[in-house]
Symmetry: C2
DNA sequence: AGGAAGTATTGAACGATGTTCAATTTATAA
DNA sequence: TTATAAATTGAACATCGTTCAATACTTCCT
């Protein structure tokens, strides 16, 4: 209930508009009540972000069946990922923007959801980097995912100076094909 | 003077510790004085971040002379970039973390500094994608830079579950070589 | 039914935030 | 010296996260 209200506020107004008092008012309770369920606002935001990560994960899972070749699957991933971040700009922005205060580490139930996304990419790479090359597959998945992340992150904060709306997808496609081409070129060498 | 104090505070305590009152106290003035030089704290942070971007640019420029081949240069870039972000974690974190309030756009004098970084990569790619392929060079530079950005961004927020300290550099190296290999593979095809 | 024990919720209060602006101090010019 | 301009102040405002004694509500036993 709290999380739903928080998610709604976040989706429309962004992290800056997400305050304890606004959430409380939205659900008809007082601010103090929130602190019976969350130790502080950072933890609350973390839960909202976890939900966002779940949504992205589901979307990517759905997209993973779409293609046959690894390249097609990864392209679908990239597309789904970019679509997600565009449809729910503020929600995804919060995932990127939010940082825990100095010294505090991300809880396990949260990092787990990040790891799931890596695994998704990793699995898609199996046909290319089969058994025996787990290590390089792991690395390739992380690098490729990070690259995609960087692309959408910069696009989201409008730091890519993009003109047309489709060019992010085009760049993502280019990234996937080029990186995979590079992979097979260096592996078969 | 204001910016120097702000930068010092940011470097040691991060964005959360950077408050108008702390800056004022650090330089022996009152909070109100800051608002004679900056319209609000977001603009002040933007200026501090601009300085950080300048430092990174200078470091990358210095590194660009180190190598002969494009791959060597880009490797040096990646290395310098990662070193920068590691040496001044909080300063660079602020560049990534800070967002302007809804609706406000980044000023030109700021986006210009981001563009300079792209250009650096673009220039390094000239030997590979010479005259006549400006468009694909532009794209390659943006994609490659975004990828590097994503890598260091995830590494910085400890979302890569990295064990050893060197593996970020290793991943960056891998990214550069693989992407470049992919480039020449698809171009010469 | 009635009271005791436990749980959930409150809302006022605290310290800190960004920001404003009339009042004051300081510098400049006549 | 005095008049004008510029810089600086610091108290005040609204809002923030957070706390916690006091209140309201449930549950259960006699």
């Amino acid at each position: 209930m709290i999380l739903e209200a928080a998610r709604a506020i976040l989706a429309t107004d962004g992290l800056r508009g997400l305050t304890a008092r606004r959430i409380a008012k939205a659900i008809g309770y007082s601010p103090g009540t929130l602190y019976n369920f969350f130790t502080n606002i950072d933890e609350l935001i973390l839960h909202v972000n976890a939900k966002t990560l779940d949504v992205v994960y589901d979307r990517l899972s759905a997209a993973s069946g779409r293609g046959e070749t690894p390249e097609a699957v990864l392209r679908a991933f990239a597309r789904a990922y970019i679509d997600c971040t565009r449809e729910q700009t503020h929600l995804w922005d919060a995932v990127l923007e939010h940082r825990l205060p100095e010294g505090r580490e991300l809880p396990d139930w949260y990092t787990l959801r990040i790891g799931r996304l890596f695994s998704l990419v990793e699995d898609a790479l199996v046909p290319l980097l089969g058994p025996g090359s787990e290590e390089s597959r792991r690395r390739a998945a992380r690098v490729l995912w990070s690259a995609l992340h960087g692309l959408s992150s910069l696009a989201l904060s409008r730091k890519l100076e993009i003109v047309s709306e489709e060019s992010v997808e085009a760049m993502a496609d280019h990234l996937v094909t080029t990186y995979l081409a590079g992979l097979s070129a260096t592996v078969t060498r």
